[in-house]
């Protein structure tokens, strides 16, 4: 599959290109104020207001250090994300590389650890540059119970 690589906290992660709509530069967001730490706020993408989520907080529990290479990956998520209200979410990543072709369902892939709160972590493979773990983006936003506690309905209301 075509994946985009990102490095968070020294670990390489991969994002499936099938889930991505677009890659955007880092744009300013309107802060959400109170709420979970991974939810940064709202961004305006060509007139469309979309929520912005910090990958580093989800994975590392640490805020992203913005760099020149930092991007916002627009994810297309289907399903009842945010109780069916949002289908696109911006994911703030520290850096992005790709797309590259990698096979995560091959023989060398490690299925990952299955413990609570880790459902967004997919299999890990090793490539020439080290080990890289696939991120299940839907799970990224679904997997975490805290994520579901997002009161989207609260601030999606105009």
């Amino acid at each position: 599959m075509q994946v985009l690589f990102t490095m968070v906290g020294g670990r390489r992660f991969a994002i499936d290109c099938a889930d991505t709509i677009e890659v955007l530069p880092v744009v300013s967001h309107r802060s959400a104020g109170i709420g979970p730490p991974w939810l940064l706020g709202l961004i305006n993408v060509r007139g469309e207001l979309l929520p912005l989520v910090d990958l580093s907080v989800i994975v590392e529990n640490k805020a992203t250090e913005l760099r020149l290479a930092s991007r916002v990956v627009l994810l297309k998520l289907e399903g009842d994300l945010f109780e069916g209200l949002a289908s696109k979410v911006g994911l703030l990543v520290p850096e992005l590389a790709g797309p590259f072709e990698r096979d995560f369902s091959g023989a060398g892939a490690h299925p990952g650890f299955s413990f609570a709160g880790a459902s967004h972590l997919g299999p890990t493979i090793a490539d020439g540059e080290g080990m890289v773990q696939l991120l299940r983006c839907r799970r990224l936003l679904e997997g975490d119970a805290a994520l579901r506690e997002l009161p989207l309905a609260a601030w999606n209301q105009p």
Binding site: Q2, I21, E22, V23, L24, P25, L68, A69, L96, P99
Partner: protein, 683 residues
């Protein structure tokens, strides 16, 4: 008591010996010297007298000769002046001269044959034949004859060939050969039985010898003149001429025999030889005739060249001298005799008195002060001596009596003194001991004080050195501070430059950001294109290729800009770090400067404190010095007191010793006083 000692040991004997003997010796020596001097003076005087007499006689004879010569010359001159030829006048003239000169024996006139041309005239008026010679020449002689009337007789000149040479031929030859017309004195010869000497003067008329005039004297006349002188001198005189005796005043035995005798044939020849060599001087020789020592004087009579010899026996001289010396000696001995007698009398009186004094002294020496005074009369020293001895005896009486009384009292006093001195010594001993202790303590104090003083001084010195070091440190700190200020300024500059660099980096960064943004956009574009191409499937393959190329380009750009960004970020971080370092450094420096100021302030504080303390150090030092001085004074005083105590101790010892000596002396004195026996009225 009369001494039985030898005479030469008694006072009288000694005074005689020491009074008389020296006086006698001195007198004899004086007389001896006087006699010798009188003798030598007499001999000298005699010699001088004789010499003088000889000169006088010579002059006298010379005067006689001159007179006679002059007379002859006068006669000749008269002839030359016109009398020549006037025979009668000449004879009258000659007669006058004979009468006027009684010492003359005769006067002669002799012309050359017919010199005046009157020979042929012969005997004429006034010219008797007696005046004429053979051929009628004028040849006359007026001689003294007592039997003749008028005492003068005229007779013709008689001559022998031999004698005529003397009185006629000689002058004639002399004139005709050499033109000499001086008158001549002939040697003595016998003329008609009479020994005469002629004074002949030539008559020169018109430069030609015309004859002679002569004036004669007898040797007897000369003899008579000499005799007078000889008697006056009491000496013998001899007159010789041309080896012939003219006169000799020695007694007749030699006199007549000598006249007209050749000197060379006489016994006096050697004497005359000596005389010829010693004219004018006196000499002594043995006379051949008298056979005794004589004093001679010889002289030359200028006129006629006669030689005079004066002879006087020295025994006569001695006789005179002996008379004088004997007189002196007699006087001397008489004087000595008188002196001896007087001395004897005086000395014996003194000796007697001295014996009295001696006996008195012996008596007192033996301790007998009880004798009475001796009686004396008179007023000289010996009498005074006896009187003094009397007084002395009396005084001694009284003194010894007083001494005895005093001795008793002294003995008691000296016992008291001894006791007192013992007490004194004990007291002073203890006193001296305590003062020694005090002195030792004082010395210790003084030593301690000196040490303290030294310590204070060294501390003071140390403090001063510290102050100096602080001063130096402060100076250095100020230098450091100023250096740091300069350094601070330098760092600020550096900081500024770094800031500039940072700005520049920021600017670069901005540019790079722009590039990066572009790259980012390109990258985004490429990624999105890839994603779309992926989604498009095969239809988007070409698009995918282009997208990949763009992506590669974007990647390169991104990489490059990433690199630049990284480098710039590094630079920035370095600059920031540098600036931070500088700032930290500056901060530290400011802190350091602050520290330096603080240190300088502290040093200043130290210096001030030290200077303040220096004053108190001086005070302390002064205090210590005065203390040391005071201690020194105390020490001196104590030393003096100790010395005084020692002196007192010594004095007390001395005192004790003196008291002992006094007691001893009193005892001795008492013993001595006990030896005297006093009169009964003395204690």
């Amino acid at each position: 008591m009369i001494s039985k000692a030898a005479f030469h040991r008694t006072l009288l004997g000694r005074s005689m010996l020491f009074g008389v003997l020296p006086a006698v010796a001195v007198l004899m020596i004086a007389f001896g010297i006087n006699g010798y001097r009188a003798w030598s003076r007499s001999t000298e005087a005699l010699d001088a007298e004789l010499r003088h007499a000889g000169e006088m006689i010579v002059q006298k004879i010379d005067a006689l000769n001159q007179r006679n010569i002059r007379l002859a010359q006068i006669m000749a001159t008269a002839q030359e002046s016109g009398q020549f030829g006037r025979r009668a006048e000449s004879l009258r003239w000659m007669e006058k001269i004979m009468r006027d000169n009684p010492q003359a024996y005769g006067a002669g006139i002799a012309y050359e044959p017919n010199a005046d041309g009157n020979d042929a005239a012969g005997a004429v008026e006034g010219v008797p034949a007696n005046a004429l010679g053979p051929g009628g020449r004028m040849y006359g002689y007026i001689k003294r004859d007592p039997k003749a009337p008028g005492g003068l007789r005229l007779e013709p000149l008689q001559d022998t060939e031999e004698d005529g040479e003397l009185w006629y031929g000689l002058p004639k030859q002399r004139f005709e050969r050499s033109g000499v017309r001086d008158p001549v004195i002939t040697k003595p010869y016998t003329y008609l039985g009479t020994d005469i000497i002629e004074n002949v003067a030539p008559i020169i008329v018109d430069g030609r010898f015309k004859g002679i005039m002569s004036l004669d004297i007898t040797l007897g006349e000369v003899q008579g003149t000499l005799l007078e002188e000889a008697h006056r001198l009491d000496a013998d005189l001899f007159l010789v001429t041309r080896g012939l005796f003219i006169a000799a005043t020695s007694d007749d035995r030699g006199g007549t025999a000598l006249r007209t005798t050749a000197v060379a044939e006489s016994a006096l020849a050697p004497v005359f030889k000596v005389g010829e060599a010693n004219l004018g001087a006196a000499w002594i020789g043995e006379d051949p005739l008298l056979r005794e020592e004589c004093t001679y004087v010889a002289g030359k009579v200028p006129t006629g060249e006669w030689t005079l010899l004066l002879r006087k026996p020295t025994s006569q001289v001695m006789r005179n001298i002996a008379q004088v010396v004997s007189l002196n000696l007699a006087t001397g001995f008489a004087g000595i005799l008188v002196l001896v007698v007087v001395l004897w009398v005086g000395a014996s009186a003194i000796a007697r008195r001295v014996r009295t004094a001696m006996s008195m002294a012996r008596r007192i020496a033996s301790g007998d002060l009880g004798g009475g005074a001796a009686e004396v009369r008179g007023s000289d020293e010996s009498v005074e001596l006896i009187r003094a001895m009397n007084d002395m005896g009396e005084q001694l009486q009284q003194i010894v009596g007083a001494v005895r009384g005093a001795c008793t009292r002294l003995a008691a006093t000296s016992a008291q003194l001894a006791a007192t001195s013992q007490e004194q010594r004990a007291t002073v001993g203890s006193f001296g001991e305590s003062t020694s202790q005090i002195a030792a303590a004082i010395r210790e104090i003084a030593a301690t004080g000196s040490e303290l003083l030294r310590a204070v001084e060294s501390i003071d010195a140390g403090a001063r050195r510290t102050a100096e070091s602080a001063m130096a440190g402060r100076t250095r700190l100020e230098a450091v501070s100023s250096a740091m200020t300069r350094l601070d300024a330098g760092t600020r500059e550096i900081s500024d430059r770094l800031a500039t660099i940072a700005e520049k980096a920021a600017a670069i960064s901005t540019v790079v950001t722009t590039i990066a943004k572009v790259a980012e956009q390109t990258n985004l574009l490429s990624v999105n294109a890839a994603i779309e191409a992926e989604k498009a499937g095969d239809a988007g393959f070409g698009f995918l290729v282009v997208a990949r190329e763009i992506r590669r380009l974007a990647d390169q750009t991104a990489g490059a800009s990433h690199d630049i960004a990284r480098i710039v970020a590094q630079m920035q971080s370095s600059v920031t770090a540098g600036v931070a370092d500088m700032n930290r450094f500056a901060g530290e420096m400011m802190k350091g400067t602050g520290d330096v100021h603080a240190i300088a302030g502290e040093l200043g504080g130290i210096i001030t404190e030290i200077e303040a303390s220096a004053a108190s150090f001086s005070d302390v030092r002064m205090g210590m010095s005065s203390q040391a001085q005071g201690v020194g004074q105390i020490e001196e005083a104590v030393v003096q007191v100790a010395a005084g105590a020692r002196q007192s101790a010594t004095a007390a010892q001395e005192f004790g010793r003196v008291a002992d000596e006094l007691a001893h002396a009193v005892a001795v004195l008492q013993d001595a006083a006990a030896r005297f026996r006093l009169r009964e009225d003395q204690p």
